[in-house]
């Protein structure tokens, strides 16, 4: 009886200690990994607790952009949606927000104003060592692929791209970049 008492104390004590620690850690998103979520997704800790992993966002996506995590980042992000822009970038149709039953991806109407004010998936970043325009060969493909030209990205001399603050990170520039590896990348937004 004594040993059983000790064991149960041990288990419940450990649980009582571990539960708040893991809870605060998970809720703060302490693993520090950034995910590129579908447009309109809530900031990271809230997104994971809202998403019920129903897979409807991927099933409605007309561009087959949305993919799903396996165990690569652990259990908490299992089966949650993410985007690899180099493979398939978001065309900002906003259908995933309409179909999401939990509001993890929020409903946003498809016009430039509300998309610019509400969507923040990430931010494009140009690697000037790879970018053709910065090597003196005029390119400008990323600028032409951008759905928000001159708002999210502008070009200077030799079509050198300059990403502006309003970039929302849809990834169409990364998808279209003709360099291998890509000279422009989306850095996922975090929190």
């Amino acid at each position: 009886m004594k040993r059983r008492q000790f064991l149960s104390d041990l288990i419940f004590g450990a649980a009582a200690l571990a539960l708040p620690v893991s809870a605060t850690e998970a809720r703060a998103g302490a693993n520090g990994i950034r995910y590129l979520r579908p447009p309109g997704a809530l900031p990271e800790p809230e997104f994971q607790s809202r998403c019920i992993r129903c897979g409807q966002c991927g099933e409605i996506c007309p561009n087959r952009t949305i993919k799903y995590f396996g165990f690569e980042n652990g259990l908490s992000s299992l089966d949650t949606p993410f985007i690899i822009p180099r493979e398939q970038a978001c065309i900002l149709c906003m259908k995933c927000g309409d179909v999401c039953p939990t509001g993890a991806i929020q409903k946003i109407t498809r016009d430039a104003e509300s998309i610019l004010s509400k969507v923040k998936m990430g931010h494009a970043w140009v690697d000037k060592n790879i970018c053709l325009s910065y090597q003196g060969k005029t390119c400008g493909v990323c600028y032409r692929a951008c759905p928000l030209q001159d708002v999210a990205i502008k070009v200077g001399m030799l079509e050198q791209p300059h990403v502006l603050d309003k970039c929302i990170g849809c990834g169409l520039c990364e998808r279209s970049c003709i360099q291998i590896p890509q000279a422009i990348r989306i850095m996922p937004y975090y929190g």
Binding site: A23, A26, S49, C51, I52, E59, P62, N63, Y68
Partner: protein, 327 residues
């Protein structure tokens, strides 16, 4: 009426098959929609062209604009859209509330219709809709076949209350980690996603491993063991269906104690001794097999206690003969 009740088991197989085949058709519909949206018929691979042609033939009688009209049916039994009506599993709503520690009302409203239906019909989801049930019942048929071939299959009995612990622990862990973890151990949710992954993305994911383990558990440890002892959704449905209105009752006058109902019951219940309880999923397999039509549906919020042996059975006849001889 009893003739109608006897056909319900066939009707149940029809609905199970429809739900399961919809889970397979919907990813193909999605692929077809993406090809249409991309205007890419000339660019897609021959295998994709086949999908396009077949889906076009299947859907063209019903829709004029596949890109938009086919959005009417989306999702799976975990959460989905049915002609503008959003429906979600009650477990999805409850575990989302646990992981978010707030109640998101739009999601709860989508779970309202299933909850009300469960309070009327009990665990009917488990017997009539759940896509995993379709495979689990085929799996238990396979177990019968293996048993006939002389191989060992499991018939262990565990405590039925185990699943409530699984539900509670699942919700507590969801609360602790801030992620909906019950979605990872709930077979219909897993199947809904994994079939989509397998057809529209790049093959089965991690959830399928878990599902195959549950199939093996059913085969080797206990018949329909996962649904009866471990399923968190089944636990929630059982609790909601405790005071269900429609339940099966044995008519003691016409029962002959043949015990076929007990043998056929997938959930290992005891219809012969009037022991249905909150676990019964109203699958009506026992009604369909009863040779004397002694099982029927009644509207009653409670089960009745054991009514004694059936009046057409040997035990009852012997008792009455003894009484007659005594007199």
């Amino acid at each position: 009426m009893i003739f109608f009740y006897r056909q319900l088991n066939k009707l149940r197989w029809v609905t199970l098959t429809i739900v399961f085949s919809m889970l397979i058709v919907l990813p193909f519909i999605h692929l077809y929609q993406t090809y249409v949206a991309a205007h890419a018929y000339d660019l897609i691979a021959p295998s994709e062209k086949q999908i396009y042609d077949v889906m076009e033939q299947l859907t063209s009688p019903f829709v004029s604009d596949p890109e938009r009209d086919l959005d009417a049916l989306k999702g799976n039994t975990w959460s989905g859209k049915l002609f503008g009506l959003s429906l979600s599993d009650p477990l999805a709503a409850v575990s989302q509330a646990a992981s978010g520690m707030t109640v998101y009302w739009p999601l709860f409203l989508t779970a309202l219709i299933p909850v009300v239906l469960t309070m009327i019909f009990g665990r009917f989801f488990c017997g009539w809709i759940c896509p995993a049930t379709f495979l689990y019942e085929l799996n238990s048929n396979l177990a019968v076949l293996l048993h006939k071939l002389g191989l060992h299959t499991g018939h262990r009995r565990l405590d039925l209350r185990l699943k409530y612990i699984v539900l509670a622990v699942g919700l507590l862990l969801s609360m602790a980690t801030g992620a909906v973890l019950t979605a990872a151990i709930y077979p219909p949710a897993i199947l809904g996603r994994e079939i989509y992954y397998a057809i529209a993305l790049n093959g089965f994911g991690a959830g399928m491993v878990f599902f195959i383990v549950t199939l093996l558990f059913d085969l080797l440890v206990s018949r329909r063991g996962f649904c009866r002892y471990l399923c968190p959704g089944g636990a929630l449905y059982s609790l909601l269906g405790h005071f269900r209105l429609f339940r099966i009752r044995r008519k003691v006058e016409t029962c002959n104690d043949c015990a076929k109902c007990n043998a056929v019951c997938e959930f290992g219940l005891d219809p012969l001794r009037d022991d249905f309880g909150q676990e019964c999923n109203n699958c009506t397999a026992c009604i369909a097999i009863c040779p004397t039509d002694a099982l029927t549906f009644v509207v009653s919020p409670k089960d009745i206690p054991f009514q004694g042996p059936g009046h057409l059975g040997r035990v009852y006849k012997r008792q009455h003969q003894e009484k007659a001889e005594d007199v």
